[in-house]
């Protein structure tokens, strides 16, 4: 490629002259033995070679030079323009015509070949781009790829892709850049102008593009008076929106060819389409997240208001009922009602506690304080919080040797209390609940097993979700539906695992593991 570039220097004329000179020098020693037509014939391939390498104009020049060289050096009398025989003029003229025609043919062929290669390159680039754009996940990855490709294919010294809202007073955001140059100060200003007007700056005149698809292009001075630039700014325009600006600083002053312009327009269209798709997807994902948050919030509000209001309403009804009845009701009834009110209030208190704890866990406001703890100590706390009448329903199945776990005492006790209370609620009345613990590698396995209806396979994952209440929960005293969510959240912060299995012969078995405390952490 290098010698070709040298050959093309100065429009290819020096190369044409040199080629003719060399051919003449080579043939000169043989001019006495070679007949003139043979000399002419030998010049033709040289001229065609020039046409192939340097194009039509250089080869026309070569033809003329060869004409004179043959006249001066090979057709007697030597070193004079005149010829000995008039028929020699005919021969020379025929040579000139043949040389001209064949060189022009060759040059045309060269142009077509180059155009074909160019098309191929363009197609390959567009192919790569569209493939990449379809598979790339983020706008900036697509932008990186586009500027890298454009820099390489167009041999640009700098390429950059800007995005941003038009009419913004702030500098546009550069999504990707490539090449050797640093951005100039006027680059940002011109990008802003393009974002505002949707017009290109410095695009070569379009050829071979339908009129309605052409990008309106102006000179830099027209955009910002007094500014001149070799750079090209292309708006990335889809049918509905302006997504950004592609900037290119070409390798050579004088800008881009019409072919380059066509390629640039095609790339810009692809880039715009891709950026639009990325933007719409991001918008959709954002909207979806908002909807999900809204949905959760309204679930929360309705569940919360239900869970808080129900016990409050029940307690209010009982107490106001007693007040209404006045002196007439006997002490036994008053006592019975008050016991029920105490239960309602305790449920209300549990609900408020659950809500506060879960929101503190989810917002990381309840930071665990990890210390080594004996599982039996934590289970003792769990047991002490149960009403005395329920304690005898718990059966413990604990290994005699249990390593200490690394846990936050209050949090782990809370997590286990939820499981134990759940098990007591779902077990048949007076049914036994088993709480077990045994060492298990680097963890301690804990489980809480009841003889209730169990958790159907379809609910085994969702049962830990907020507000989820399984089919079996019909008929049991309602809770907030937050207990298991709190337990899951706590086990997560403890780097533990939590799952629900089927117990034998029936019932649910909630199993968790908590990492043990190693010596060095003690």
């Amino acid at each position: 490629m290098n010698w070709k570039r040298t050959a093309l220097a100065g429009g290819g004329y020096p190369f044409a002259a040199l080629s003719v000179a060399v051919a003449a020098a080579v043939l000169l020693p043989f001019r006495t033995v070679l007949p003139d037509p043979m000399v002419m014939l030998l010049f033709v391939p040289v001229i065609i070679g020039v046409a192939r390498v340097a194009g039509a104009r250089a080869s026309a020049t070569a033809s003329l030079l060869a004409f004179f060289a043959i006249d001066l050096l090979f057709v007697p009398p030597y070193y004079r323009l005149s010829v000995a025989r008039p028929s020699d003029w005919v021969g020379l003229l025929v040579f000139l015509i043949v040389a001209m025609i064949s060189s022009q043919q060759a040059a045309q062929l060269r142009t077509r070949e180059r155009a074909a290669v160019r098309r191929q390159d363009e197609l390959a680039l567009l192919n790569r781009l569209s493939f990449r754009i379809a598979s790339e996940g983020s706008a900036s990855a697509v932008a990186d790829f586009i500027v890298a490709q454009v820099t390489e294919v167009l041999g640009a010294r700098r390429a950059a892709l800007y995005v941003g809202a038009p009419a913004a007073s702030t500098p546009p955001r550069c999504l990707a850049e490539a090449g050797l140059l640093r951005p100039s100060i006027r680059e940002g200003a011109l990008v802003n102008w393009v974002l505002l007007t949707s017009k290109a700056i410095g695009m070569p005149p379009a050829r071979g593009i339908p009129y309605d698809q052409r990008i309106v292009s102006v000179g830099a001075t027209e955009a910002l008076p007094g500014v001149s630039t070799d750079g090209v700014f292309v708006p990335l325009q889809t049918s509905t929106s302006l997504e950004g600006v592609l900037f290119i600083e070409p390798a050579e002053a004088g800008g881009l060819t019409a072919d380059d312009g066509r390629l640039l327009a095609a790339v810009s269209n692809l880039a715009a389409a891709s950026l639009e798709r990325q933007r719409l997807e991001a918008d959709a994902a954002h909207a979806e997240a908002l909807r999900e948050a809204d949905r959760l919030k309204s679930t929360l509000v309705s569940s919360v208001s239900h869970e808080l209001k129900t016990p409050l309403a029940a307690a209010t009804a009982r107490v106001t009922g007693l007040v209404e009845e006045g002196e007439s009701c006997d002490a036994a009834r008053v006592r019975e009602e008050l016991v029920a009110v105490a239960e309602d209030l305790s449920r209300l208190n549990d609900s408020i506690g659950d809500l506060l704890d879960l929101s503190r866990l989810e917002s990381d406001a309840w930071q665990p304080r990890f210390e080594p703890h004996d599982v039996r100590d934590i289970l003792g706390t769990v047991l002490s919080r149960l009403p005395a009448a329920q304690r005898d329903r718990i059966h413990f199945d604990l290994s005699e040797e249990l390593p200490e776990v690394l846990a936050d005492h209050a949090q782990l006790a809370r997590a286990l209390s939820n499981l134990v209370e759940n098990a007591l609620v779902y077990s048949p009345a007076d049914g036994e609940v088993t709480v077990g613990a045994r060492p298990n590698g680097d963890t301690v396995s804990l489980w809480v097993e009841d003889a209730g209806p169990g958790v159907p396979d379809a609910e085994k994952v969702r049962v830990f979700d907020k507000f989820y209440r399984g089919a079996a929960s019909a008929g049991v005293p309602s809770g907030t539906g937050l207990g298991l969510a709190i337990t899951r959240e706590i086990v997560r912060t403890h780097d533990g695992t939590l799952k629900v299995e089927d117990a034998e012969p029936q019932g649910a078995r909630f199993a968790l593991t908590i990492p043990i405390a190693h010596e060095e952490t003690q």
């Binding site: 105490a342 209030l345 305790s346 208190n349 506690g353 506060l356 503190r360 309840w366 304080r369 210390e371 080594p372 703890h373 004996d374 039996r376 100590d377 934590i378 289970l379 003792g380 706390t381 769990v382 047991l383 002490s384 005395a388 413990f396 604990l398 290994s399 005699e400 200490e404 936050d408 005492h409 209050a410 006790a413 003690q522």
Partner: protein
């Protein structure tokens, strides 16, 4: 447990709480149990009433309008030697511990049941009334701690405890039903000049547990109050 009903002489409780509903509820609950009840809605008023009547026990809410609960605790302790029971809201651990270190004796988290409140009051008053502090032994469940003979038995079988282990157990058992902070334990067992750490204490407590609790069972006598200390629980002997 002592049966519900009248103590030998009427004991005076001072309730310092800025919430009127709580004051009214406590007044009615405690009066019904034959306590004499004084009410104060601010810390200043509480200090005045303390000077006037010298209550047997003070119930102090930690969030007061005119001064921080900790400040109130400190000022009360300047003249008042009886037990102080702190009322705190959920999850205000640091305040709770600071108050205990400033001389408060135990805490209750709002909301609490009347049963819990009365149990705490009784446990705290027992100590100052001299009802239990002179006791030479404590029996609960299978456990018996004889303070005078420094002897511990489980199901009648003597259990060997080291000196430190016995001191810890004795200190906890003497304060049965009350929280004992880690600092209090360190001070009484090792002496105030000892700069002990809670890790060491924890290890000793776990040794005590291993010796007095039955194997394969959960801890029943000594409960951990996370971040605060330990509490000895008397099992209901039914």
């Amino acid at each position: 447990m002592s049966p519900e009903g009248a103590p030998e002489r009427k004991q005076r409780v001072l309730v310092i709480d800025d919430e009127e509903q709580i004051r009214r509820a406590l007044k009615s609950v405690l009066s019904a149990r034959h306590y004499e009840v004084d009410l104060a809605e601010t810390a200043e008023r509480g200090l005045e009433l303390t000077a006037e009547h010298t209550p047997d026990i003070i119930v102090l809410d930690l969030s007061l309008p005119d001064m921080s609960g900790l400040e109130a605790c400190k000022r009360l302790r300047e003249w008042f030697r009886g037990p102080i029971l702190i009322l705190s809201v959920r999850n205000a651990d640091d305040d709770k511990i600071a108050a205990l270190d400033l001389g408060a004796d135990d805490y209750l988290t709002k909301p609490f049941s009347t049963g819990e409140l009365l149990a705490r009051l009784r446990a705290l008053l027992r100590r100052t009334q001299g009802v239990d502090s002179s006791a030479t032994e404590i029996r609960t469940g299978d456990l018996c701690v004889d303070f005078a003979k420094r002897l511990v038995t489980v199901k009648g079988e003597p259990v060997h405890l080291t000196r430190i282990e016995f001191d810890i157990l004795a200190q906890l058992a003497r304060n049965a039903g009350r929280v004992v902070t880690s600092r209090m334990l360190l001070d009484t067992v090792w002496g105030p000049e000892y700069v002990g750490d809670t890790q060491t204490l924890r290890v000793h407590v776990s040794h005590v547990r291993r010796k007095i609790e039955s194997p394969g069972d959960v801890s029943r006598y000594i409960l951990t109050e996370p971040g605060v200390g330990f509490r000895f629980v008397e099992l209901d002997n039914e």
